[in-house]
């Protein structure tokens, strides 16, 4: 049972501000993922919560108590590191026992707890192995076990799966989600992998250059990105963008003219935008439709066939590349001339400052 609250947290290294005033509240049992490109400050933020980095200003509250100056070990947190950070000179049992021993727990109780966790994580056969004798996945499990056994209020994960191969990563992702459901502990998870973010999170915090770009559920971010950065960052392959000119709008939608002269009536509101303003139309690859002829034409440059789906890279007449995700069985070939249809209900509009126009109707899954 724990809530975490960040109030205008800032971190300055020498003269450079790394974290620029982040406020956030994390509910009990919530699985929150910090996501963003390298250097966005997500790991620093996690380490500030953990107590491994000093907080320059602002308040960190865990269960309502200010924790800024509390030692890492006394904050009631447990952390799983990217490199696992197991104690190489101790076997699996001792790795898990270390924290309990320091906390002064009696031996019988320690043994019971460790055995229980080892059973949950299927680590029983390895209890007396040193970390060096284990595979990457097993080490990862030990690192998680070491965190669980302390029964923390909050779990912190710092890119825990990035050292694993793709197959194992997928498997561990599912295991972590299941474990979270079982333990019901508040979890803060840092990753740069948006698949991890989308599949595991109750709430995603998108960070860039030490600033929160958007906080929301995975589908909220997907369907209603707040700005160009989030639109580009969430979704794979990323959203396509077309330059356009704003023509006018009403309560049901806004009208824009694309470069080839065609117009789109997108169901978003546009208060305060003057006709003639340069805007950006965004549409996800999975929403663009291929047509043999019509407006928005281009030439197919690359085709990536993934089996179930096909990614068609189209070079538009203005030189831009647009990616279209289509059926696995599509027959289009390289160098073919195609046209793109942009269903207006799936389009996003972004103002010159990058902010998205408000959708007239929220997506049912992102209410």
């Amino acid at each position: 049972m724990a809530t975490v609250e960040l109030k205008n947290l800032r971190k300055t290294y020498l003269t450079e501000e790394i974290i620029k005033g982040i406020s956030l509240s994390i509910e009990d049992r919530e699985f929150v993922v910090f996501v963003g490109p390298s250097g966005c400050g997500k790991s620093t933020l996690l380490r500030m919560i953990a107590g491994l980095e000093d907080i320059t200003s602002g308040d960190l509250l865990i269960d309502g108590q200010r924790m800024n100056d509390v030692e890492p070990g006394k904050r009631g947190l447990a952390m799983v590191f990217q490199s696992y950070a197991l104690y190489p000179h101790m076997d699996v049992y001792k790795n898990m026992e270390f924290g309990l021993k320091l906390a002064g727990m009696p031996e019988a109780e320690r043994r019971e707890k460790i055995e229980h966790v080892a059973h949950t994580l299927q680590l029983e056969p390895y209890l007396h192995h040193k970390p060096g004798q284990l595979s990457g996945g097993q080490r990862q499990r030990v690192a998680i076990g070491r965190a669980i056994v302390r029964n923390p209020k909050v779990f912190l994960f710092d890119e825990p799966l990035s050292n694993l191969d793709a197959a194992l990563r997928g498997q561990m992702r599912v295991e972590l989600s299941a474990l979270h459901r079982k333990l019901g502990a508040t979890t803060i998870y840092v990753t740069h992998d948006q698949v991890e973010a989308m599949t595991m999170a109750d709430k995603i915090v998108v960070l860039q250059k030490g600033v929160v770009e958007q906080i929301g559920s995975p589908l909220e971010l997907y369907h209603h990105p707040r700005n160009l950065f989030v639109a580009r960052f969430i979704g794979s392959p990323p959203m396509n963008f077309f330059p356009a000119i704003f023509q006018g709008g009403d309560s049901a939608g806004s009208s824009v003219q694309l470069r080839d002269g065609s117009t789109l009536y997108v169901p978003v509101t546009s208060p305060g935008i003057l006709p003639g303003t340069k805007v950006t139309v965004g549409i996800r690859p999975e929403h663009v439709e291929l047509a043999p002829s019509g407006p928005n034409s281009g030439t197919v440059e690359v085709i990536e066939r993934l089996g179930a789906i096909t990614l068609v890279h189209v070079r538009m007449s203005d030189g831009e590349i647009i990616v279209v995700q289509t059926d696995g069985a599509v027959l289009t070939d390289v160098d073919t001339h195609v046209s793109l249809t942009l269903p207006p209900q799936n389009c996003h509009l972004f103002a010159p400052d990058g902010l998205a126009f408000e959708a007239c109707r929220r997506h049912p899954l992102a209410a």
Partner: protein, 275 residues
């Protein structure tokens, strides 16, 4: 063709290696040999390689001076200086390796630069300090000076070893509730033990061989083995047989010790250099 070149290079390097090793070892070998000669054989020209070995030099050395007294002093001073240097250097290297500041690099270089100072430059002040604190001719005084002269290189070596320990392992300890002290003693030290051992070994050898300060700061009571050797290059002239016997006796313990632990030593000396 390439294989042939590689082979010949390897043979060349091997010969060179053996050559250098023998060249370095020769003085010790010659000293060992001379210690079994009579004084006349020891100074004969051309030098004699084959002769009737005698233990007379050893007998005389043992008769003239108390070898065990000197050895005891050397052991006390070397072990004392090494232990205290390691005790001081571990926290210093820990803070430099894991909590570096803007000035850490400069401090390290400055510490190392003190090793480049000719000791004779500070002989008078140190002598006076030792005299005024009543540490002249005491094992404590010599151990303190040995400890201080070796401290920079020990801090430097430990710093290099500690830098090899991944910081997240120590952070994991902190997350597990370890205090800084526990983090250092329960996580860092066991991991860096091979490095600490080879550093201690090097310090022990340096202290054992240290002659300048022992000759200047001790006379009889706390004189170590280096003073024992020096006492045989005496006013009556040089007696190479006795001098060699004394030297052999002085270097033997540390030579045997070094031989046993050479694996650790090589690892320590090349650590960080070869990656």
């Amino acid at each position: 063709m390439a294989l042939k070149t590689k082979n010949s290079t390897r043979i060349g390097v091997t010969i060179l290696g053996w050559g250098i090793a023998l060249w370095l070892f020769f003085p010790i070998f010659w000293m060992f040999l001379t210690s079994f000669k009579s004084e006349v054989q020891a100074i004969s020209t051309p030098p004699k390689l084959f002769f009737m070995p005698t233990l007379s030099s050893y007998a005389e050395v043992f008769e003239r001076a108390s070898y065990w007294h000197f050895t005891f002093n050397t052991v006390i001073v070397s072990v004392g200086a090494t232990a205290s240097a390691i005790a001081l250097a571990v926290p210093a290297a820990y803070s430099m390796a894991f909590m570096p500041s803007k000035r850490t690099r400069g401090t390290l270089l400055w510490m190392l630069s003190t090793r480049m100072l000719p000791p004779v430059g500070v002989l008078v002040p140190i002598y006076l300090l030792a005299r005024n604190t009543h540490l002249l001719d005491t094992c404590t005084g010599l151990a303190i000076v040995d400890m201080l002269t070796n401290l920079p290189i020990i801090v430097w070596m430990l710093y290099t070893f500690f830098r090899e320990v991944p910081a997240p392992i120590l952070e994991a300890g902190r997350m597990d509730g370890a205090t800084r002290w526990q983090e250092m003693t329960m996580v860092l030290l066991p991991l860096a033990l091979p490095g600490i051992a080879s550093t201690a070994l090097l310090s022990l050898i340096l202290c054992w061989n240290e002659a300048f300060w022992s000759l200047n700061l001790t006379s009889s009571h706390a004189a170590p083995l280096t003073a024992f050797i020096a006492s045989f290059s005496s006013p009556e002239g040089l007696f190479f047989g006795k001098l060699s016997a004394a030297s052999t006796l002085a270097v033997a313990p540390i030579l045997v010790f070094g031989w046993i632990s050479q694996k650790q030593l090589v690892r320590g000396l090349t650590f960080g250099a070869v990656k």
